[in-house]
Amino acid sequence: MEVTTGWYLALGAVLFTIGALGLLVRRNPLVMFMCVELMLNAVNLTFVALGARLGDLGGQIAVFFVLVVAAAEVVVGLALVVAILRRRPGATADDLAVLRG
């Protein structure tokens, strides 16, 4: 039995769904960030799988840029989390429903 592109795409879909479910269910902002990373990785896997299938380097280039943007996003996001949790220790995503202090 051969591993076709469909297998990778299905794995990517399942991984993306797990990430989305975690984002909806968990309330710790840091764990929610990790779920975003899961979803980004699922999309990366899809890009590389389809790139390999079509013999296109563009898939790998796209993943490269996704990695860079993900790193930037994590840096800014974690700085925000640090700033919020310093003033309001133990805050969950539900406590941040309003935009004041």
Binding site: L9, A13, L21, V48, D56, V82
Partner: protein, 203 residues
């Protein structure tokens, strides 16, 4: 052989992903995330993208997860979450339903798409099996995608400056934080106000 590697790494990836969302302790979540990222790296090798596999391990598992762990330890938020509290009623069943429908849509689209692709090889940036992966990626990044590549440098600089601005200690006294009404109470108050229009509710 390829099948065995795929199945093993797929299991590693999925177990790690479930571990991320199912661990009560955020530190365990971060460690499960490392497991998932390693599994993805193995799949990249299987898909003949060794450079991406390397930066997946170095950047994701090596830098991003360590950053997560640093923040967890720095803030001391590494205690287990209480799962019995459900602030929005029916949130979890709804989330499961939403995720299940998302999975159905994604699977149907993706499995249809594998049959629908033309199967024609890429016209402008074909993968050349003669040239090494790193060399080819480097050529493409510094010729075709050079503008985007330079823009990522700007993006990273902005991200670093933004992080420093956000995370620095504010000088002087902070004004006290107004005590937040818990969501449940707020909803109850709104309902009470709706039921009894004579009473004014001030926020």
């Amino acid at each position: 052989m390829e099948l065995a590697v795929f199945i093993i790494s797929a299991v590693i990836v999925l177990v790690g992903a479930v571990g991320v969302i199912a661990s009560r302790n955020p530190v365990h979540s971060a460690l499960f995330l490392v497991q998932t990222l390693f599994g993805i790296a193995v799949l990249f090798v299987l898909l003949e993208a060794p450079f991406l596999a390397a930066i997946q391990v170095i950047v994701y598992a090596g830098a991003i997860v360590i950053l997560f762990l640093f923040v967890l330890m720095l803030l001391g938020v590494d205690r287990a979450e209480d799962w019995n509290v459900e602030p929005i009623g029916g949130q979890r069943p709804l989330a499961v339903v939403a995720a299940a429908s998302l999975l159905g849509i994604l699977l149907s689209v993706m499995l249809a798409a594998t049959d629908a692709v033309t199967g024609q090889p890429a016209a402008n940036e074909a993968i050349d099996p003669e040239m090494s992966n790193v060399r080819q990626l480097g050529r493409s990044l510094f010729s075709t995608h050079v503008v985007a590549f330079e823009l990522t440098a700007v993006l990273l600089t902005i991200a670093v400056v933004g992080a420093v601005v956000f995370a620095r200690k504010v000088k002087g006294e902070l004004e006290p934080i107004p005590e937040l009404v818990p969501l449940q109470d707020e909803i109850a108050m709104t309902r009470a106000a709706a039921a009894d229009p004579d009473e004014e509710v001030t926020h």
